[in-house]
């Protein structure tokens, strides 16, 4: 009979103790994996959103900083305007290589002229754009023509196979972008010409007219010259152009990053506490079990088992329970993340992207390792203590 067979026999023969240890391992593994997936998912999501934006600086009207973040991250529709004359002023600032305007719009809620309610829409200028076209080309192979739109990963056609009705205007969904876990997944992109065409049609076809003020834009995206310092450019924008705020890409989504950091701190504290309690509980359970089985272990020693065998056998029990409990915990955590990913975004108020298979495997391995490490660590002290006892003393009442 091998060490593991003997350990397994002990596990199945001591159901209550085995369940307690396995459940502790389950909690540690499930909690660790769930938290890792959510936090890594949020980090990846923020990074992807920043990368997709593709600008060094985004300039918005003063007071609209939080709105632009909410729109880009959480898909909360936002509308704000600044004079398009700012574009020329921005282009004149030393160090600026390119300036491209964007107009932010939203669909109507509860109106028959819009087949998708309360959706954030981004209109860009194809002549100057340097942020949207590159990934449109990368993912669709071409730009967008009049009446064509591209949707985030959650957008689907509502009229026929390819169309969506916006303000009574039937746009053609050319394709979908890869998911980012942010509000961009629930947004739609089209050119400024399409936006103006929708506004024109809305005057006769929509319940409410889509209004795009003349000589106004929502935001200006800035690309800094190669080797230039975005921070210096941002300072000059602040000094030279009134009523606008430049947001550097490094500090974009700053409030979300802060929220994530605070969430991370809370979660890590909770996780640390849960881990410590689990280790103490498992340690107690193993101490009690070792004490309860003192005589049995003394007999095994008398029959020829070495001290090392005794501690290895207890650690093998711990390892098997940790693996079983950990595996179930991991399965539950993965299931919970997949089933409740939307709820996670809403309740935590953070963007969230499901991990890639490779990253998931890595995170599962970490969760399982943590469960095994915790249980074995908790079992180590009682295992060593009991193995060092004289067999005769261990067998005494």
């Amino acid at each position: 009979m091998s060490l593991f067979q003997l350990a397994w026999k002990n596990i199945s023969g001591n159901a209550f103790r085995s369940w307690v240890v396995a459940i502790c391992a389950l909690i540690v593994a499930a909690f660790a994996l769930f938290i890792t997936i959510v936090l890594r998912g949020a980090e990846t999501s923020l990074q992807l959103a920043s990368d997709r934006l593709g600008a060094d600086i985004i300039v918005v009207p003063t007071g609209a900083e939080a709105k632009v973040e909410g729109a880009l991250l959480m898909g909360i529709p936002a509308k704000f305007w600044m004079p398009s004359a700012n574009l020329e002023k921005l282009a004149a600032i030393p160090g600026v290589e390119n300036v491209s305007p964007q107009v932010y719009l939203e669909t109507l809620t509860g109106a028959s002229c819009c087949s998708v309610p309360s959706m954030f829409m981004i209109a860009y200028d194809p002549l100057t754009d340097f942020t949207i076209r590159p990934w449109l080309k990368q993912e669709l192979g071409e730009g967008l023509d009049l009446g064509e739109v591209v949707g985030g990963s959650y957008i689907s056609a509502t009229e026929g196979k390819q169309n969506i009705r916006i303000y009574g205007y039937l746009v053609t969904l050319k394709g979908n972008l890869e998911p980012t876990g942010t509000g961009l997944d629930q947004s739609m992109f089209f050119t400024l010409d399409t936006a103006r065409d929708i506004a024109r049609i809305s005057q006769t076809q929509a319940e409410t007219v889509l209004s795009i003020p003349a000589d106004q834009v929502s935001a200006a995206l800035i690309k800094v010259e190669p080797g230039g310092d975005p921070h210096r450019v941002a300072i000059q924008i602040l000094q030279k152009i009134p009523d606008v705020t430049p947001i550097e890409s490094a500090s974009l989504f700053q409030s979300s990053r802060k929220q994530l950091a605070s969430l991370l701190q809370t979660i890590l504290s909770m996780m640390g506490l849960t881990w410590a309690l689990s280790v103490v509980l498992i340690g107690l359970v193993f101490s009690m079990a070792a004490n309860e089985r003192r005589r049995e272990l003394g007999v095994i020693r008398a029959l020829g088992a070495t001290r090392a065998y005794i501690s290895q056998s207890l650690l093998a029990e711990a390892g098997i329970l940790a693996l079983c409990g950990g595996a179930v915990g991991i399965a539950l955590a993965v299931l919970a993340v997949f089933l409740f990913r939307r709820l996670i975004i809403v309740s935590f108020g953070i963007p969230f992207l499901l991990p890639s298979p490779g990253s998931l495997v890595l995170q599962i391995s970490i969760g399982l390792f943590l469960a095994c490490f915790s249980v074995c660590l908790a079992a180590l002290f009682p295992a060593i203590k009991i193995s060092r006892q004289d067999p005769a003393v261990a067998m005494r009442e």
Partner: protein, 237 residues
Amino acid sequence: MITLHEVSKTYDLGKGSAVAAVNGVNLEICQGEFVIIIGRSGSGKTTLLNLAAGLTRPTSGKVVFEGVNLWDLTDTQQSFLRNQKIGFVFQFPSLLPTLTVLENVSLPPTFGAQTPAGEVRARARELLEQVGLSDKLNVYPRQLSAGQQQRVVIARSLINHPKALLADEPTSNLDEKTELEIMDLFAELHASLGITLVMVTHTRQLVSYGTRSVEMAQGKIVNGNGVPIFETRSERI
């Protein structure tokens, strides 16, 4: 075969008090003997048996098994020696409750030389047949009577062909009829295998089964060290 030189064992009871369970004992047990150690409760006979088997470290003195001082050996060497050369029968139920009868008897080879599993099982079956339990191979200890459990323990103690069998009050929890059955089994094993048997008991009537008896009181051998003072088994027969 087993020699104890001036062996003492003192248990620390804490708060500065200690009790000498065994006090300066000299004892030599020769190959093939059936030694019965008797004494009242607390006389130190179980501690003496544990010392002889290397189950507890003496406070002073030497325990020599086949010319080797047990406490000069490493834990691995000592465990291997116990596994290969000594069989144990305890007073209390000592079968592992989570293992079947066959698995319990097959357990000791797990800790020692790598004997093929098939061989171990065949030997375990043979021994269980010898102790009259060939129909109980796959039952668990809780399903057996106290006498049957002790028979399984005897079968387990013989699995590695030990040179010595040490039994600590093996019949104290049994009724009179079962006690005699177990003692007859010991006598039969001693006669047929020529194994060295050392048995601790507080029942004077059982002394007749041994070839020699040793009486202990207050941690010392008070009578019978090498002298058969009671009726021996051969005389009984």
